[in-house]
């Protein structure tokens, strides 16, 4: 085998400059492919406004119901003084609480989620939101909804036996309709 290769080299079937040129050509081809792939990642990230969470906020998952902002009476969507909306949701095995959140259209919405047990996923259909909900941390995601409608919000991180049935909804209503809702209607979408 080695003899054969040596013989070929000695015979000079492929001259060295040709080899160098070929190598350089393939190096450029690979660099171009790598560049295209990185560009796809960067451009989709910028284009669809996908950005990693920049906040690190910690919370005790065992005592969510006793203290802090995730007590029962504080869950659901809340109107902030500046007109934006904050939606607080607990992800737990195997549901989101509340099951359904009402938010107004064309308004900045901040989702604040945390997990009571294991890692869950937070994703609202046709928005730029997609984040993990990790026990011990608060997931803080900002978005806004342009058109009214019902948006599905499935758990997209495998969390155990009941994962496949873990899904909630976000109901987006026109801005003027939202003002007339009672606080409990904002939290559970009424009777649905």
């Amino acid at each position: 085998m080695a003899d054969q290769l040596n013989n070929e080299g000695a015979a000079g079937l492929i001259p060295e400059p040709v080899i160098v040129k070929t190598e350089r050509r393939w190096f450029l081809a690979m660099a171009a492919m790598l560049g295209v792939m990185l560009a796809v990642i960067v451009l989709t990230g910028i284009g669809q406004m996908l950005h990693p969470l920049s906040d690190v906020e910690t919370i005790d998952p065992a005592t969510l119901h006793l203290q802090g902002e995730f007590v029962e009476s504080n869950l659901g969507s809340a109107l902030e003084p500046d007109g934006s909306i904050t939606v607080r949701i607990i992800a737990e095995q195997y549901m989101f609480v509340p099951h359904c959140a009402v938010v107004p259209a064309s308004t900045p919405v901040r989702f604040r989620l945390t997990s009571a047990d294991v890692t869950h996923g937070f994703f609202v259909q046709s928005t730029n939101t997609n984040a993990m909900v990790v026990p011990g941390y608060v997931t803080n995601v900002r978005t806004s909804f342009e058109s009214p409608g019902t948006y599905q919000m499935p758990c997209d991180e495998f969390c155990g036996f009941g994962h496949h049935a873990m899904a909630a909804r976000v109901v987006v209503v026109p801005k003027d309709q939202f003002k007339n809702l009672r606080p409990d209607e904002r939290m559970n979408c009424g009777t649905q």
Binding site: S54, D55, V56, E57, T58, A62, T63, L64, H65, L66, Q67, E69, V71, E72, S73, N74, L75, A78, E80, P81, D82, S84, T86, I90, E92, Q93, Y94, M95, F96, V97, P98, H99, P108, R112, A116, D117, G160, F161, G162, H164, A165, M166, A167, A168, R169, N188
Partner: protein, 279 residues
């Protein structure tokens, strides 16, 4: 490669590498700790020091985010911390048996209740029994006789009596029941069995069995197989109406209010008639 000139004395690459790495570190620090935490949050006017703390994960968000603070409505005073779990599981079975003589009039001789609206306790998980006793004491779960009894016992006695009932044969213990049953899928023709084993993803209703067994287990969730039918039905209705509200983080109120009246009845019947080895 021209080695005859000898190694070069002034190799610029060492300097270039150090400069590039330090510039990267400085720029990354500025972006990650100063610029992004400060300007990505429109309603969080952080000082430089707070911005660095925030990016590092320290608790400074209290005033920035907790704009809503109505008085908390506490569903239960139990939290599944390590110390609570230890306290609930160190019970002595023998002294629990003595305390349990007070329970037999309603909950049956061996923890198997004959009255349909009173639950059987035999074989229930210790943590389940301990939590319910504590909830009766604190008034987060309402029942006249049980509140009075729970208030007359200490938390050590809760653990004792829980250990006794957990040791009795009867309802299947859900600890260790971690294997799904055969036919527990969407292909099951019976809609009630489908709800128990597969849930209803369209309505976001998780399978009962993923927390109450057989199959899954969630801390604080009782095994339901062979439980009294009327008791199950009444509890599901109470959760749906919110008259029973001692479920930590609201799982049962969420699920029960999504169920229809006939589903509640059918589920109670199905669980009551289920044997320990599945349907």
């Amino acid at each position: 490669m021209k080695l005859e000139n000898g190694p070069r004395l002034h190799n610029p690459w060492g300097f270039i590498v150090v400069a590039v790495v330090s510039a990267t570190v400085v720029i990354a620090f500025g972006l990650g700790f100063l610029l992004l935490p400060r300007y990505q949050e429109p309603r969080a006017p952080f000082s430089t020091k707070d911005a660095v703390y925030h990016a590092l994960g320290f608790h400074i968000h209290g005033k920035a985010f907790n704009t809503m603070q109505p008085p908390p409505k506490v569903p239960t005073y139990i939290a599944w911390t390590e110390s609570t779990i230890r306290q609930a599981t160190i019970g002595d079975r023998k002294s629990g048996e003595f305390i349990a003589t007070n329970c037999t009039a309603c909950h049956g001789e061996k923890g198997l209740s004959t009255q349909p609206w009173i639950p059987s306790l035999a074989g229930l998980d210790r943590l389940v029994l301990y939590k319910q006793l504590d909830d009766f004491r604190s008034g987060t779960r309402l029942s006249g006789p049980m509140s009075a009894i729970a208030q007359s016992l200490t938390s050590q006695q809760y653990a004792d009596v829980s250990a006794y009932f957990a040791s009795l044969p009867g309802l299947p213990e859900n600890r260790g029941e971690r294997t799904p049953r055969p036919h527990s899928s969407y292909r099951n023709r019976d809609p009630v069995q489908r709800l128990i084993y597969a849930g209803d993803p369209k309505r976001g209703i998780a399978a009962c069995a993923s927390c109450h067994g057989p199959g899954g287990y969630r801390i604080g969730a009782p095994a339901l197989a062979k439980q009294n039918e009327l008791y199950l039905e009444q509890q599901l209705q109470a959760f749906a109406l919110g008259t029973r509200a001692n479920d930590m983080d609201m799982p049962m109120r969420t699920i029960a209010s999504a169920l229809t009246e006939s589903e509640i009845r059918a589920l109670a019947r199905a669980y009551a008639n289920e044997n320990a080895n599945g349907p």
